[in-house]
């Protein structure tokens, strides 16, 4: 290794470290040379094997919703008393759009493929709280065994992060949603 390529300052520091840590100075010189030669090079992009999740098609979404409301097609769905009662008070929907069917799927069927572990604004424990009303998942509790005290503790823990007064992480909109969840699963029958 031509150590003469290294300036005096580095050579002196190599000697000092070799002395101090009782290591071979050649190793340190070699490493210094390696750093000089490679420090500007970009890391090779590491390709992680990602499994692409295929979203449900419009037909698949419709099929699930039809099955839930026990109808055969959209015309029957629109006429269905159960459907009309179930969506009473919801924002008006255009059933010609896939978005509307996704809203119905999330509300009545469950989590859409690809939305199981969402990240970003409004996502807690992998669930987007503005798309789903899933308090047990958000509170990270088992509904079969959670006590009122467990619900309260989980709520307080989330409040510490999302209460509007919490510096840096507070958010009124998120906290409002958490509050509704707490009042819903904590309500007496």
């Amino acid at each position: 290794m031509p150590s003469n390529q290294l300036n005096l300052l580095i050579q002196e520091e190599v000697s000092r470290l070799a002395e101090h840590h009782k290591v071979d100075s050649e190793v340190l010189l070699e490493f210094a040379q390696f750093v000089i030669e490679n420090y500007k090079k970009k890391d090779k992009a590491v390709k992680k094997p990602t499994k692409k999740i295929k979203p449900l098609s419009m037909a698949e979404l419709k099929k699930s919703v039809y099955s839930y409301f026990e109808v055969k097609n959209t015309t029957e769905l629109k006429k269905s008393g159960s459907f009309k009662m179930a969506i009473d008070g919801m924002e008006p929907m255009n059933l010609g759009l896939k978005d509307s069917w996704e809203v119905l799927y999330r509300k009545f069927i469950g989590v859409l493929p690809g939305e199981e572990q969402e990240k970003g604004y409004g996502c807690i424990n992998g669930i987007d709280i503005f798309k789903y009303f899933s308090p047990w998942q958000v509170f990270d509790l088992d509904p079969k065994s959670a006590s009122k005290e467990d619900i309260k503790k989980a709520y307080h823990a989330l409040s510490k992060t999302y209460h509007p007064d919490a510096p840096g992480t507070g958010d009124a909109k998120v906290f409002d949603r958490i509050n509704t969840m707490y009042q819903s699963i904590g309500a007496e029958a």
């Binding site: 179930a86 009473d88 469950g110 029958a189």
Partner: protein
């Protein structure tokens, strides 16, 4: 005491239609049944059918009466006929049950109220409509709340003045849960029927109430026009120097006298402040009032207002015989006070 005829629900023309025959052919078949009292085919009045009009031989059948005729026809007709009568009876039962469900809803919807663009129904009414107990409804609620998709407060349920209410979406979820979990089949089917016909029944009630509210508002506007936008006690009009709001007051309160609520003659125009003063004097807006109460109020607080007293006595003469709904024991719906 009236005879119980509740088992007789199938009209002869409906039965003939289901059997794909004419009413005349049905009459012939009945004639065959009656021709030989000793054969195996029996059709008895007051058991299998009753007459609506004996002269015209109009009958109404019990289910087993309809079955007896269908069974006879099946012995002489192709097999498919039996299937069609079974289908007819099933649909007929479903229609009847739906009619009962509708009636149950109409009789138990006095709490129906609009909040945040959603219609809510009290827990008491929900218990009555589901024909269940508070304990069973509580269990259904707990089961839903422990599921992955619990009911959402403010949307599916809420508490108003300490009373639990369910929105139509919450009511639907409770009905669905009961329809799946109840052990008795009839009870499950009742809740299933609520899912099917509930929405239409509720919407009819809601739209009737909304149109009634509009009707009352129209009557109020007409009363103000009739009174030339003048307070009938002070005989003053709102002006640039003396601004005030006008109220159309129900002389006989709309809650206790709903039949008079949209009647212009039962309304009188008052200064809003005097209107409030009257209701405070009378014990609050929820306390019922009559022409006598207004007369007493005027004599005590506005003894110079002679003209309005004359008008009130006229109203009393016309409407004084009306009975408040609580006193008459009528089960009519009560409406929120509009005045």
């Amino acid at each position: 005491m009236a005879k119980d005829t509740s088992n007789f629900t199938i009209r002869d023309e409906d039965l003939a239609k289901a059997l794909e025959i004419t009413v005349e052919r049905l009459e012939e078949i009945i004639g065959f049944f009656e021709s030989d009292p000793n054969d195996e085919w029996e059709l008895r009045e007051k058991d299998h059918y009753i007459y609506i009009n004996r002269n015209y031989r109009e009958r109404i059948f019990a289910e087993h009466g309809a079955f007896a005729i269908a069974k006879y026809m099946d012995s002489v007709a192709p097999k498919s006929l039996w299937d069609s009568i079974i289908e007819f009876i099933t649909r007929h039962k479903e229609k009847l049950r739906n009619a009962f469900v509708r009636r149950k809803i109409h009789e138990n919807c006095s709490s129906l109220t609009l909040r945040n663009n959603r219609h809510f129904l009290s827990k008491k009414d929900a218990v009555n409509i589901f024909c269940t107990s508070y304990a069973r409804l509580n269990r259904a609620f707990d089961a839903i709340q422990s599921s992955g998709q619990p009911l959402e407060k403010f949307k599916d349920f809420d508490d108003f003045d300490g009373v639990r209410y369910y929105s139509l979406s919450g009511f639907y979820r409770l009905g669905r849960e009961l329809a799946q979990s109840l052990t008795v089949r009839d009870r499950r089917e009742w809740c299933k029927a609520l899912e099917v016909v509930g929405e239409r029944a509720f919407k009819l009630i809601i739209s009737a109430e909304e149109s009634r509210k509009k009707e009352i508002e129209r009557a109020k506007d007409a009363a103000k026009d009739r009174d030339k936008k003048t307070c009938q006690i002070t005989l003053s009009k709102s002006s640039r120097t003396h601004k005030f709001n006008l109220a159309a007051h129900h002389i006989y309160s709309d809650k206790e006298y709903p039949d008079l609520a949209a009647c212009v003659d039962n309304l009188i125009t008052l200064n809003e402040e005097i209107h409030k003063e009257f209701h405070t004097w009378n014990g609050g807006t929820r306390v019922s009032c009559t022409a006598d109460d207004m007369i007493n109020f005027i004599m005590e607080r506005y003894p110079d207002a002679e003209e309005v007293l004359l008008k009130l006595y006229k109203v009393k003469n016309v409407f004084g015989h009306h009975q408040p709904i609580a006193a008459s024991g009528s089960g009519r719906r009560s409406f929120p006070p509009a005045a």
